[in-house]
C-alpha cells in the first residue's frame, strides 16, 4: 500500500502517463519506506497487496496499490479525469528500463540465489551490489525535468537528490527475495550497500548529451568514451536545461530493456599467517623468473599457498613476509613470519583442529619447507608484516672454508671478539640495484667450531642488515674487517643458515587467534579498486555484482 497523498496526485499521474513503473513512482514521490518497495510487482502474487488493510490514522491519504500503478490511470480512482493518457500496459518503464520490474521479481531472485548456490560459498552475511548502465541517469534526469514543477508544487524545497536512487530502490525491492531464496535472512539493514561501476558501451542516450553541452566543461570532444561514461552522472547533475534540449522530456519509450550481464560472487579475503622454515638451499622465497623463464621449480610461497588454496577454495593469493632469505640460505629457528591473503575464498571458517590439519598437509607435502603457528588473522596483521618489523639481532651459522689448514686453536680467538664493527660497502652482488654506500654493521659475537682442517662452523650474532657472505669472503676487500683478514688467509663461505624467530617480537596478537574482524571490504572489478571503510562489515561477506547492460536503444539512432 502506498502512503501517497492527494497532493501527490499530479506527480503520480504525470509519471504514470509518461510510462514510469510503480517503483519509479515511489522513488519520484520520495517514499523512504523500504517495505513498500518489497511488495511484489505485477508479475507476482498479488495476495499481499490486495488484502492489506488501510491505515486509519491519516484520512486524507490517497492509497494506491503498487501493481495498479503499472496498469495506468484507472488506478488513480477518484480523479476520473478524461485526459488520462493511454495506458502503457505491460511495457517497460521508461526510467529504469525494467530494472525495478523483472529484476525485482521472485524469478530473478531465484536466479541470483542459484548462482550463489552453484559457487558453493560458505558465508554468514551478504552484501548486494549492483552496476547499472550509466545512461539510466540521463533518463532519470529527463524525468526529473518533466515532473520538477509538480514536485515543487507539493514540497517547495524538492531537489533532484530527494528522489530515491535507483540502486537503493533496487536493493530494497529485491534483497529480501534473494535472502528467502537462499533460505536464511542475513541482510544487514541500512548501511551495507556497496556500489560498483561498469563501463557499458556508449549508447545513444549518452551521445545525445555530448554535442550540446559537453564542451562547456572544457574537456573537449576528444575525450574517451570511458571518461565520458564515468563522468556521465556528474555531467547530468550539472547540466543546464539548455544542455538537455536535444533530449526528450519525459524520456521516450524504450525498444529494449536492461539485461543482466553477469552475476558475480566475491568473498572478501581471508588472511592466514604463520612462520616458515626453509630447509633447502635451492629454493627461492617467491617464484624466481628471469626473462620469462622460471629459474627454479617451486618457491616457499607456492609450497605454502597450494594446500591453503585448495582448503579455502580460493582464487589466488598474495604472499608477504617479514624479510626474506637468499635462495641458497636455509631458514631455521622458530621460523620467519609470513602472511597469506587468500583471494575470494569459498570457505572461510576453520577450527583450530582444521588449521592444524592444513598445516600438516603443507608439512608433509614437501621436505623443503615447514610451517608452524598457522592461523587465521586480521587484515591488519598483513600490514604489520609488510612493514617488515624485523628482529634487530640476527643469528646465523656459516660453514667456512679456509685456504690453509687449521687446527682447533687457530680459530678459538674468534670467540673472544665482541661487538666488532664492520664497514661494508654495498656488496657487488646487489650493487646493480642498490645505491653505493658504506654501512657500519656490528657483529655482536661469534662462536667457531672446528670441523676439519679446512672447514669450521661459525655461529654469528649480528646487527640486522649485516651481509654475512661478504664478511666471510671479503667481497674484494670491500667489507672491512673481514674473516680473511682476521684469519690472515683466504676464507670462503660454503653454506649459510639463518635462525629466525627466537628473539623477535610476536607478530600475532595473543588472545585473538582465529578471529576475523575485518572492517574493510575491497572490491576489485575491471581493474578498478574501491577501498573504503564500511561500518562493521564482517569478513565473511559475500558480495554480489549484478551488471545490467542496456543492449540496444534504437529509437534515437
Amino acid at each position: 500500500m502506498l502512503p501517497l497523498k492527494e497532493k501527490d496526485k499530479p506527480v503520480v499521474q504525470k509519471l504514470l502517463s509518461s510510462g514510469c513503473c510503480a517503483r519509479c513512482v515511489l522513488r519520484f514521490c520520495c517514499v523512504l519506506v523500504q517495505s513498500l518497495y518489497r511488495q511484489p510487482g505485477e508479475d507476482e502474487s498479488e495476495e499481499g497487496t490486495r488484502t492489506a488493510t488501510e491505515q486509519s490514522d491519516d484520512p486524507p491519504k490517497k492509497r494506491m496499490k503498487l501493481d495498479d500503478g503499472l496498469k495506468g490511470s484507472e488506478a488513480s480512482a477518484g480523479s476520473g479525469d478524461a485526459e488520462a493518457p493511454p495506458a502503457p500496459a505491460l511495457s517497460h518503464c521508461v526510467v529504469c528500463l525494467g530494472v525495478l520490474q523483472e529484476y525485482c521479481s521472485r524469478d530473478h531472485a531465484r536466479k541470483v540465489a542459484e548462482a550463489v548456490k552453484t559457487e558453493d560459498y560458505h558465508f554468514e552475511t551478504i552484501l548486494l551490489s549492483v552496476s547499472l548502465p550509466a545512461q539510466l541517469c540521463v533518463r532519470e534526469h529527463s524525468c526529473w525535468l518533466h515532473v520538477k514543477k509538480e514536485m515543487r508544487e507539493k514540497v517547495m524545497t524538492r531537489v533532484k537528490d530527494d528522489i530515491v536512487p535507483l540502486k537503493e530502490a533496487f536493493k530494497w525491492s529485491v534483497q529480501g527475495l534473494i535472502a528467502t531464496e537462499l533460505g536464511e535472512s542475513f541482510w544487514r539493514e541500512s548501511r551495507c550497500i556497496e556500489e560498483s561501476i561498469i563501463f557499458p558501451t556508449l549508447s545513444s542516450d549518452c551521445l545525445l548529451l555530448v554535442p550540446s553541452w559537453f564542451r562547456c566543461i572544457s574537456i573537449g570532444p576528444q575525450c574517451s568514451d570511458v571518461f565520458l561514461l564515468v563522468h556521465n552522472v556528474e555531467i547530468v547533475s550539472y547540466c543546464p536545461p539548455h544542455g538537455f534540449r536535444h533530449y526528450p522530456t519525459p524520456p521516450g519509450r524504450p525498444t529494449s530493456i536492461c539485461t543482466s550481464q553477469a552475476i558475480q560472487c566475491l568473498h572478501t579475503s581471508i588472511y592466514v599467517a604463520g612462520r616458515y622454515n626453509k630447509y633447502s638451499r635451492s629454493l627461492s622465497q617467491t617464484p624466481w623468473i628471469i626473462d620469462g623463464r622460471r629459474m627454479m621449480e617451486s618457491s616457499v610461497e607456492e609450497l605454502i599457498a597450494e594446500p591453503l588454496a585448495s582448503s579455502f577454495r580460493s582464487k589466488g593469493f598474495n604472499f608477504s613476509s617479514s624479510g626474506r632469505e637468499d635462495v641458497d640460505v636455509r631458514t631455521l629457528g622458530k621460523g620467519r613470519p609470513f602472511a597469506m591473503e587468500m583471494l575470494n575464498p569459498h570457505r572461510y571458517r576453520f577450527t583450530k583442529m582444521e588449521m592444524k590439519k592444513i598445516q600438516e598437509t603443507i608439512n608433509t607435502s614437501s621436505d623443503k619447507i615447514a610451517v608452524r603457528d598457522l592461523q587465521i588473522v586480521t587484515r591488519e596483521c598483513m600490514g604489520h608484516m609488510k612493514e617488515g618489523e624485523e628482529e634487530k639481532t640476527k643469528s646465523y651459522t656459516a660453514l667456512v672454508w679456509t685456504q690453509k689448514p687449521i687446527e682447533k686453536d687457530d680459530i678459538i680467538f674468534l670467540d673472544d671478539i665482541k661487538e666488532l664493527t664492520l664497514d661494508q660497502k654495498t656488496p657487488l652482488r646487489v650493487l646493480h640495484r642498490r645505491a653505493l654506500a658504506v654501512r657500519q654493521r656490528v657483529i655482536h659475537s661469534m662462536n667457531a667450531s672446528f670441523r676439519d682442517p679446512h672447514h669450521f662452523y661459525l655461529r654469528l650474532k649480528t646487527q640486522a642488515g649485516t651481509y654475512i657472505k661478504e664478511f666471510v669472503h671479503g667481497d674484494f676487500g670491500r667489507t672491512k674487517p673481514n674473516l680473511c683478514q682476521l684469519l690472515k688467509m683466504d676464507t670462503d663461505i660454503l653454506e649459510l643458515d639463518v635462525e629466525v624467530g627466537n628473539c623477535g617480537t610476536s607478530y600475532f596478537q595473543k588472545g585473538n587467534p582465529g578471529k576475523s574482524t575485518g572492517s574493510m571490504t575491497r572490491i576489485v572489478q575491471l581493474g578498478l579498486d574501491f577501498s573504503g571503510d564500511f561500518p562493521r562489515l564482517d569478513v565473511e561477506n559475500v558480495i554480489f555484482f549484478f551488471s545490467f547492460q542496456k543492449t540496444r536503444l534504437k529509437q534515437y539512432t
Binding site: V430, F476, L494
Partner: protein
C-alpha cells in the same frame, strides 16, 4: 628435518670468482706487449676491472712506487661519485678510457684502460695506501675499478674481449714464440 643437500667437502669447491663471475681478457692492450687486462663480469652484469696475472707489473718480483687515478689535469677518477640506485653522476668510460697509471720502482709506467664501455662506480682506494695488495691479490682485493655497463650492452661486454680459453691460448702461443726465438 633436512632435505639432504649435502655438499662434498673433500676437495676445495669453486672460488667466489668462479661461482659468480665470468672472466674476460684483453691481451696486449693498446699494442703494448703483455699488458693484459681482465674484466670479471658478475652474473648481475656488474664488472670488476683487474690486471691479468700476466701483466708485466705482476712479473719478476717488481714493486710499485705509485698508483695514480688522476689521469689528466682535468680528470681524476678519485672524484667519481655515484648517487642513488641509478648511479647518477658516475663518469662514463669508453673502451680506451684510461683509469689509472701505475709506476713501478724501476720507473716504468703503465696505463690501465677501461677495456669496456660503462659507468664508473668505484675505484679501489685501498691499493693507494697498500700497493702490495695489487701485487698479492690482483684479481680480488687488488682490483682497479668497478664498472657498470649499460643494461642493453651488458650481454655484449664479452664481444670485444677474449674468453679465458682464448686468452690462455694467446698466452701459451706467446710462451712458444719466446722459446722459438734464438737467445
Amino acid at each position: 628435518m633436512d632435505c639432504k643437500e649435502e655438499i662434498d667437502l673433500s676437495a676445495p669447491g669453486p672460488s667466489v670468482i668462479e661461482r659468480y663471475f665470468t672472466r674476460w681478457y684483453k691481451a696486449d692492450v693498446k699494442g703494448q706487449a703483455c699488458e693484459d687486462h681482465c674484466i670479471l663480469q658478475h652474473s648481475n652484469r656488474l664488472c670488476v676491472l683487474t690486471l691479468a696475472e700476466t701483466h708485466p707489473i705482476l712479473q719478476d718480483g717488481r714493486t710499485i712506487k705509485n698508483i695514480n687515478y688522476k689521469i689528466s689535469n682535468g680528470c681524476s677518477r678519485l672524484n667519481n661519485k655515484v648517487a642513488g640506485k641509478s648511479k647518477r653522476g658516475g663518469q662514463f668510460l669508453t673502451e680506451f678510457a684510461p683509469v689509472c697509471r701505475i709506476t713501478c720502482t724501476d720507473e716504468t709506467e703503465y696505463t690501465i684502460y677501461s677495456c669496456m664501455r660503462g659507468r664508473l662506480l668505484e675505484v679501489n682506494e685501498d691499493i693507494l695506501i697498500n700497493t702490495s695488495l695489487l701485487l698479492k691479490k690482483p684479481s680480488t682485493d687488488g682490483y682497479i675499478a668497478v664498472i657498470l655497463p649499460k643494461f642493453e650492452e651488458s650481454k655484449l661486454v664479452g664481444e670485444n674481449l677474449l674468453s679465458r680459453e682464448d686468452f690462455e691460448a694467446v698466452v701459451s702461443k706467446r710462451a712458444a714464440d719466446v722459446q722459438a726465438q734464438p737467445s
